[in-house]
Symmetry: C2
């Protein structure tokens, strides 16, 4: 397989984008990425989107978005792995280039979540869980992650304050990200005293409902110099793993097997270990998620993720900065776009373009994008070429 | 890229499968394909499904179906290109093997369409069209294809009876297919006199609402002999193309540009011309679709598809047998499964396993799977290895 580089990335400021439709926000991000790379054509395209059918009554996004981006008749395909759809789109684009099938491939992700009311959004998101064994019985995602948090607290002594520290740290990072939906700092006290959603998670433990898109341009590493003036970022590894879709099917409710597996595969593919990673963008859909993920990826021992969050080791300047972008919590979480936005942040960090939130000496970055309660996970490792 | 073979295929009898859920019918087809190939593991999996969110309230099918098939933690991804989702899943599986990323890959397709009422199914299917510029104004798929039929009749003199001949021929083939939803013959008079759906299309011009799944096992051609006792079928070409999603954006309402483009790419990749193809499984979601497709693929001159249908050239024993399986019209059309079922039929034909509907001397077969009104199209060419 050919070595693959990322030569362009783009995303808009995320938020409640009432004046734009799904096709508008996707096209906006795609054009930013194309402009960033400086390419004059796209050979193939992948779109990550979780549930445009339920959110905006539109499937067939490959055709729609190739049409509106003006790149038809190229192959353009939507892929879906719930909230890991963006990471999965980037992974398919990686293999498209690596295999030799196509040279300039766009990986994009999009979700337009505010065109339904809150109940509609909660229902659409619930389709990432097991409809027959979880959702029919009333489960929602805050409820599922609350159970994971309770299990983690029970098994490992993780505290309510440690959960809050994840949110506080991500908002501190996001306050320096001009594209974040909620670019402001919060305190542990604010998290603890905000509205209860599902015990022990309050609203400031939960990522928001967001409209947004992100895009990246991939090409063979050996062609990067001729296609673009931008310093290429090399894709060292791409891994995807699955687990039981239902939380109740797992031996340990507080352990993410798909994240562990995808991490293992990615480390092996790149020939690296967790200590080689300079920073990571991970899937903090809820604060407990980040704690479980940083354990499963090997940055902290099992059960020690909460202690790690409180210690400052995952903060800017810490041992392993996590979510310098602000993460899903501050940056926003348009579910199908999140995995590609992690790539956007990682590429910019590796180029040294991240301004006030720049990770010093960033040479190797990891992205971890997760579907449902961890029923699927996509991990990538990127490095300065 | 490595040469790729299909070594196993499977599908159940399609129809209104009230006693089975989406996970049941997918798993059933997948196990049939695994048994057919005789493999003892799967390395990676793709699931084609158009709109499980709207049909059954379930997204995240990669995780769900890997879980229920018992193959987690392997990578398992859902892909969507409306009614071309199955063909797209097979195409991603092809590249997964061809690239060297994985050796034994399952491509499946599934749709459970009868768990909503007729209005719900019509709405879910409409999401393959342009939600903002077509669906909001009341368009449905029978209406869109009726406009294409009117345009074809106006431009080329195609007759109502020629449309009916497509349905009659496909039901004649499907009557010999034990897995078809409607395995019986019909007459031109019955088509003409059946209930009007959207002028000029009556209900017997329209493919039905169906529950069903289909699956295929792919591997490197050079490993086929050691992995399976079944005669391998080689994938000669895989092509995907897009067009405007909205019918009104096209210069010619009766011409399928994405089908023409995907056909051109596939013929070039295989080094073949239309006259080399022994039979084709094509996307007859409505009778007019088959007429347009056999022109765009080069089997008939532009405007002559209707004459071709009436002439018997596409019937069993004709110059280019089309839809020996019975096509979408007789076999059924569980939209995400259709593209993989075309592969099932083609593999069985090339193995000489098709019983009363066997195409004599079949050496090379083509599949053509289409999304929406032709906004996307996936074409494959398969041959005896």
């Amino acid at each position: 397989m050919r070595d693959v580089a990322v030569i362009g990335v783009g995303m808009q400021k995320w938020g409640e984008l009432w004046e734009k439709s799904l096709r508008d926000i996707f096209t906006e991000a795609a054009v930013l990425a194309i402009d960033d790379a400086g390419v004059d054509r796209i050979d193939s395209m992948y779109v990550g989107c979780m549930s445009s059918g339920l959110f905006v009554g539109q499937e067939h996004l490959g055709s729609l978005l190739a049409d509106y981006l003006g790149v038809a008749p190229i192959p353009a395909l939507r892929v879906e792995s719930a909230c890991a759809s963006g990471g999965a789109a980037f992974r398919q684009a990686f293999f498209d280039v690596a295999s030799g099938a196509n040279d300039i491939v766009l990986a994009g992700g999009v979700e337009k979540m505010t065109d339904v009311d809150g109940g509609g959004a909660t229902y659409a998101l619930s389709t990432a869980a097991d409809a027959e064994y979880e959702v029919y019985h009333g489960v929602t995602f805050p409820g599922l992650y609350a159970m994971m948090a309770m299990a983690h607290m029970h098994a490992h002594g993780t505290t309510r304050e440690q959960l809050a520290h994840v949110s506080v740290k991500n908002h501190r990072n996001g306050a320096k990200n001009p594209r974040a939906q909620y670019p402001f700092e919060i305190t542990v006290e604010q998290v603890l005293n905000s509205i209860m959603i599902a015990d022990p998670l309050t609203i400031l433990d939960c990522s928001p409902i967001t409209d947004g898109a992100a895009a990246a341009i991939l090409c063979p590493l050996e062609m990067a110099g001729e296609l673009s003036d931008k310093p290429p970022v090399k894709v060292l590894a791409s891994a995807h793993a699955t687990d039981s879709i239902a939380l109740h099917s797992r031996d340990d409710l507080a352990w993410l097997g798909a994240v562990e597996k995808a991490g293992e595969v990615a480390y092996k593919m790149a020939g690296l270990t967790p200590s080689d990673i300079d920073f990571a963008e991970v899937h903090d859909c809820f604060t407990i998620a980040e704690i479980c993920v940083i354990e499963a990826l090997g940055f902290f021992e099992k059960g020690k993720g909460g202690v790690g969050a409180e210690s400052g080791e995952t903060a800017a300047g810490g041992r392993i900065p996590v979510n310098p972008s602000g993460g899903l919590k501050s940056k926003g979480h348009p579910v199908g776009a999140t995995g590609v936005a992690q790539i956007v942040e990682t590429v910019e960090q590796l180029r040294g373009e991240s301004g006030g939130r720049q990770v010093e000496g960033a040479e190797i970055g990891m992205t971890e994008n997760m579907g449902g309660t961890g029923g699927s996970c996509v991990v990538h490792i990127l490095a300065k070429a």
